[in-house]
């Protein structure tokens, strides 16, 4: 709608463009460079969907089969592109169904903007149809949230939403828009948000801390780095590689740090944590300086804090001041954007070889190889292992694929054995441990990186939590490769029941449907592998296909993931069997 307004004082005709709140939402998304969003329509968001219909040549909306799927797809897209993922849902159940994905994005620092419809503002608080207090519900799991009740607020609030989601330590933002605000009109002017007075996304760099950190690193005899997703979020992969190559410090990743450094890099000594590698876990308690970069000392990384790296001086690089000393007491905290702090510290660091110290990692790796890795990758028993499936995937992908894993045993095997040549290639639900994450996240990842192979590795339990997203695969023709490692158990829980609950397998055995028939019902090519000799060919065939493909691998039912740090134990008590 266009109206002409005459300004009386100057008698000049100026054009003011009045548009609806709904159209303003779409224009804001376009201003922010959004090309793709995921969602599910419903009553309270219909005006916005009506505008999406009109703008469909500019903004592509992907209809998922459940709002949780929309949130995870937006996360997958965000994680693979580094851009803000967008998910949309209606009020009430639509909004609450997003919550798991929002919580997942919050704990894994994923930039995401969720837009929910809300009942008309005159109905707020009256328990209207499909009304829910999504602001109240989402507050603890969002970086920021806001309810728009007036159309004129839309441009400013959405600009703020995108700025907050992507800046500093990224996270999810939820914007709830009442139906009347979607219908009402406003004068549309868009200005990108660049600062908010109460928000300091990046702390200032303190050169004293950089120098103190450099001094500690330079005198260290046994330094060790643990790097996390901060390297990826900060786009600091190059700076990080330069640092470790100059100093030759052995570097281990966290689950979410995977792929920030190529897995084949000689200084990459594996993954830390509950099912991480033997060497970096053990040697955490032998290093003299522990350098944590863009990671947050999750309890799955540290095991018992009372016996975690007590002998070491800890240096912590992070963008988020609230992470410093949260779990582990630091000697030196280097706050700031890691891309800058690593550049600042590099010239202050001395070259080193750390030959002997690196040998200790090699020695422990050999022990792990003999007692765990060899049996996982080259099993002699009859049953297929999850490890050998990952090995065969590596053979074909050569480390170039994006691996999206779900949660459980298969996730640990995928993380332990997948090869990654490039960054942003490992997408998994880390902090929240959300089963059902992988299938929708893989759809989002494939759309974010259409030129790359995207392989979802999922267990038979998690697969059935969001299996309806096969409908999204069918409708969008997204050529994702889905590998279900089927052991007919909720394997990780079963493993714990075996080890800590005297094999009382309470509610962990699964009677599964015929997954091939289901895939075929969605017109997705599918194959089941039950024998070792079929595996390599099946994986080649899957990755050679230009279309979506489903591969079920029936694996050994009662395999366990090792190494393992039992709950409450110290990292140095990591078990190999």
């Amino acid at each position: 709608m266009e109206t002409q307004i005459e300004t009386k004082s100057k008698h000049i005709k100026t054009k003011e463009i009045k548009i609806s709140g709904s159209e303003a939402v779409i224009k804001c998304l376009l201003e922010e460079g959004v090309e793709l969003l995921y969602g599910y329509p419903g009553g309270a968001i219909m005006p916005i969907y009506d505008e999406l219909y009109k703008y469909q040549d500019k903004l592509h909306h992907v209809l998922t089969r459940h709002e949780q799927g929309a949130a995870h797809a937006a996360q997958g897209y965000a994680r693979v592109t580094g851009r803000v993922g967008v998910a949309m849902a209606t009020s009430g159940p639509g909004a609450t169904n997003l919550v798991t994905g929002i919580a997942d994005a919050q704990i894994d620092s994923t930039p995401m903007v969720c837009i929910t419809g809300q009942v008309g503002s005159h109905l707020l608080g009256s328990d209207a149809f499909q009304e829910t207090d999504i602001i109240g519900i989402s507050t603890p799991v969002t970086k920021w949230n806001y309810q728009i009740t007036d159309a004129s607020e839309i441009p400013e609030i959405l600009a703020k939403a995108f700025y907050i989601a992507r800046s500093g330590r990224p996270g999810p933002v939820l914007i709830d828009i009442t139906k009347d605000a979607q219908f009402d009109t406003l004068d549309f002017h868009y200005k990108k948000c660049t600062a908010i007075r109460s928000y300091r996304p990046v702390p200032e760099i303190d050169m004293n801390q950089i120098e103190a950190a450099a001094n500690l690193i330079n005198i260290a005899k046994k330094p060790m780095i643990v790097f996390g997703q901060g390297i990826i979020l900060g786009k600091a992969e190059k700076e990080f590689t330069a640092l470790i190559e100059k100093t030759n410090i052995p570097s281990a990743c966290t689950l979410l740090g995977l792929s920030a450094l190529p897995t084949e890099h000689p200084l990459h000594v594996g993954m830390v944590g509950m099912h991480g590698n033997y060497a970096p876990n053990k040697l955490t308690n032998e290093c003299d300086v522990l350098i944590a970069i863009g990671m947050r000392f999750d309890d799955r990384v540290t095991g018992n804090l009372n016996s975690y790296a007590k002998q070491a001086k800890v240096i912590h690089f992070d963008i988020d001041p609230s992470e410093i000393d949260k779990n582990v007491q630091t000697e030196v905290a280097v706050l700031g954007n890691v891309k800058q702090t690593l550049v600042e510290i590099l010239p202050l660091l001395q070259e080193n070889t750390h030959e002997k110290w690196l040998q200790e990692f090699k020695k422990l790796y050999d022990i792990e190889y003999e007692s765990v890795i060899k049996n996982d990758l080259f099993p002699v028993k009859e049953g297929l292992t999850m490890g050998e499936v990952m090995k065969e995937i590596n053979t074909v992908s050569k480390g170039d694929a994006v691996i999206v894993s779900d949660v459980g045993q298969h996730q640990m095997f995928a993380s332990r054995y997948a090869k990654f040549n490039q960054t942003k290639s490992n997408i998994t639900s880390g902090g929240l441990g959300t089963m059902g994450f992988a299938l929708p996240a893989a759809i989002g990842a494939k759309m974010g990186a259409p030129q790359r192979d995207v392989i979802a590795v999922i267990g038979d339990g998690g697969y059935q939590m969001t299996i309806q997203e096969l409908g999204t695969v069918l409708q969008t023709k997204a050529p994702v490769k889905i590998v279900v490692l089927n052991n007919e158990f909720l394997g990780m829980v079963r493993q714990w029941q075996q080890l800590f609950f005297d094999k009382r397998y309470a509610s962990t055995e699964m009677t599964n449907p015929d997954f091939i028939t289901i895939a075929k019902g969605y017109h997705i090519a599918a194959e089941r592998v039950t024998k070792r000799e079929e595996l390599a060919v099946a994986i080649q065939k899957m990755l050679a296909s230009d279309e979506a493909y489903f591969l079920e691998v029936c694996v050994e039912k009662e395999d366990n993931v090792f190494p393992m740090i039992p709950t409450g134990a110290s990292v140095s008590e990591v078990r190999l069997s």
Partner: protein, 173 residues
């Protein structure tokens, strides 16, 4: 185990709907009981100030303050020990007018620097300001007369150390 201490947490924030929820959620997620809370405007236009009293170990107070500051609309948060602040609470007591001329009550009011703010045919209202302990003592004294109503505010506190909020906001603006 680190010993629990009483801390006053001051939080300077933007004035926006729902922020109380977001701020109190930080205490909730760490299972901290809020002993008292007051919200008011602050010395800066359009900036609100939350004053919380909690009993926690000092390291926990530090962590909570950092997590409060992490919230987008929180400008700054501080925690203070009892020694670092001047603090007061206000209370009101409603009593039956039959006790208005009771000498004991009159004496107590003088002693506690309490005032009578309203007198009606049926009741009168006493107001006092002081430390929590002072108010508790007056409460114990007046209780036997049959309190018709009693209410006490949360703690309000001014810190001895400077809290450089204005400078911070000017820097950002």
């Amino acid at each position: 185990m680190e010993e629990n201490k009483k801390f006053t947490i001051s939080v300077y924030t933007e004035n926006s709907v729902g922020l109380l929820n977001r701020v109190s959620a930080i205490f909730l997620k760490r299972h901290i009981n809020i002993e008292s809370m007051t919200v008011s405007k602050s010395e800066i236009d359009h900036v609100h100030r939350f004053t919380f009293v909690v009993i926690v170990p000092e390291t926990l107070a530090q962590k909570v303050v950092k997590q409060l500051e992490k919230q987008i609309e929180v400008i700054r948060a501080f925690y203070h020990t009892e020694e670092e602040i001047i603090y007061q609470e206000t209370a009101m007591f409603k009593l039956s007018t039959e006790f208005l001329y009771d000498e004991k009550i009159q004496n107590k009011l003088k002693l506690r620097r309490a005032h009578i703010v309203t007198i009606t045919k049926n009741f009168f209202i006493i107001e006092t300001t002081g430390l929590k302990e002072d108010i508790d003592r007056l409460y114990d004294k007046l209780k036997p007369y049959g309190l018709m109503q009693f209410v006490r505010s949360g703690r309000i506190a001014i810190t001895r150390p400077k809290m450089a909020i204005s400078e911070l906001i000017n820097n950002v603006n």
